[in-house]
Symmetry: C2
Subunit: 258 residues, 2 copies
Amino acid sequence: MTTTFSIANQKGGVGKTTTAVNLAAGLARKGLPTLLIDLDSQANATSALGLAKEAGKSLYGPLLGEGAAAEKIVSTGTKNLDLIPSEVDMAAVESELLQTENYLAALRTVLAPLKAEGRYRAIVLDCPPALGMLSMNSLAAADYLLIALQCEYLAMEGLSQILSVVEQLRDAGVNPDLSVGGILMTMYDVRTNLSRQVVAEVKQHFPELVFDAMIPRSIRLGEAPSHGKHIFDYDPLSPGATAYEALAKEVTKRFALK
Amino acid sequence: MTTTFSIANQKGGVGKTTTAVNLAAGLARKGLPTLLIDLDSQANATSALGLAKEAGKSLYGPLLGEGAAAEKIVSTGTKNLDLIPSEVDMAAVESELLQTENYLAALRTVLAPLKAEGRYRAIVLDCPPALGMLSMNSLAAADYLLIALQCEYLAMEGLSQILSVVEQLRDAGVNPDLSVGGILMTMYDVRTNLSRQVVAEVKQHFPELVFDAMIPRSIRLGEAPSHGKHIFDYDPLSPGATAYEALAKEVTKRFALK
Ligand SMILES: Nc1ncnc2c1ncn2[C@@H]1O[C@H](COP(=O)(O)OP(=O)(O)OP(=O)(O)O)[C@@H](O)[C@H]1O
Ligand SMILES: Nc1ncnc2c1ncn2[C@@H]1O[C@H](COP(=O)(O)OP(=O)(O)OP(=O)(O)O)[C@@H](O)[C@H]1O
Ligand SMILES: [Mg+2]
Ligand SMILES: [Mg+2]
């Protein structure tokens, strides 16, 4: 049994990649075999784990009908955590997919053999900051959308847009099983009213979706990618590591991963 | 004479909108008639100035051949500052433009009458976090690219990608006049080594491009959009206002706007 999570939000810089990498690492540390897939041509999840971008080592080919996802898997050095990297060519997928049949189902089709094999308990998809082809494909392939939501005013504005896209994909029958799994508050700064106001507002509108775990603004989370390490390897005692550990626990429980 | 600036960077959340809004307001305060154009379907620049998204009030129509840019201009309440808002439909432009002839020149064509009229001394384009059709169109229409660069490791990684896109557009003859006007360091945090290291690294590689003005991380910049005001109306004495005032001065001088 494999559960697929899409970490998406068209708002940029809200902590999607930081969440995808550290949640995947957190699940792996709990003994859950986890596959992280980098769907962003920026390839930030790839470099945040210290891996190089390599031409041909991404889902670019498989999404356009060449090759299989399993061939693109690399190990990360962290037990139970594998990665499918990204490369700059991934950006071209956005327009090339449009020319194909059933372009919203491309990723679902590519991941089907992996899910059937049941090699992984969880698949985590890191999306680019847009609701383009790659993010839509990730929503079409996912069981749950996890929204990384920065504790800022502008980030809150975009929430209704992505929630309505989920509705549309469900109603159109593209992915009837898709549901919003949760909202993760990120870059929470205890010192500011703005953070508190945003959290209060989101909790008021979506009380059952907001995770108890909140990710504080913590410089160690910003430093970790420059060392090519997830937070548990870079600074396991930091507030960021504690928060992502709590998230991994909460996700494991909420979605009965164990 | 109108000079057009594109504020672009495919990395998300680096301060593109905050820079577009506050630079445009800063130039307007210096008596330079300025037009801010929101090219992001998130419409953050529109809401940051307290204006509502309205169906039909964006460049969506003109980019696909219906209507003129001049009809979409609204006043902002700030002297010398006008805006062309965005709307959710703008996202559809990305795929619809692909079906048209000469799709990279769409924005340049739409802005040509405005530039010929010379009503504005500066046009500032706010781009979405991607190098898709809208950002490419903005680069094809601009005289200068201004890169908002967050003082973070992951933001630095994407720099070479956007710089190579500029080369490609120039070499392909899409916009031979395009040049990189400058790099603005944003969300600089004096307390962290990471910020200092990123600034030092960028200055080492691009000494003549980096603006002297650096934008500090300042909560008032995050609060201003929730009040629908640019920083000069929200908190003119804040570090954010001082920094964007310095940037407006430096941009006026570097590009001989006065
Ligand atoms: N809780 C945090 N505290 C401090 N810095 C953080 C935190 N989370 C993320 N960051 C940093 O903030 C920046 C933005 O985060 P990240 O790149 O994960 O966002 P994203 O949503 O994936 O961005 P994009 O929209 O470009 O894909 C990065 O430089 C990251 O290192
Ligand atoms: N110097 C600053 N200090 C503190 N907060 C800032 C600063 N600049 C921007 N912000 C806040 O950080 C967030 C990201 O900034 P902004 O939305 O301008 O980035 P962007 O690059 O336009 O994002 P996107 O990629 O989604 O278009 C916003 O909530 C904004 O209010
Ligand atoms: Mg990311
Ligand atoms: Mg923006």
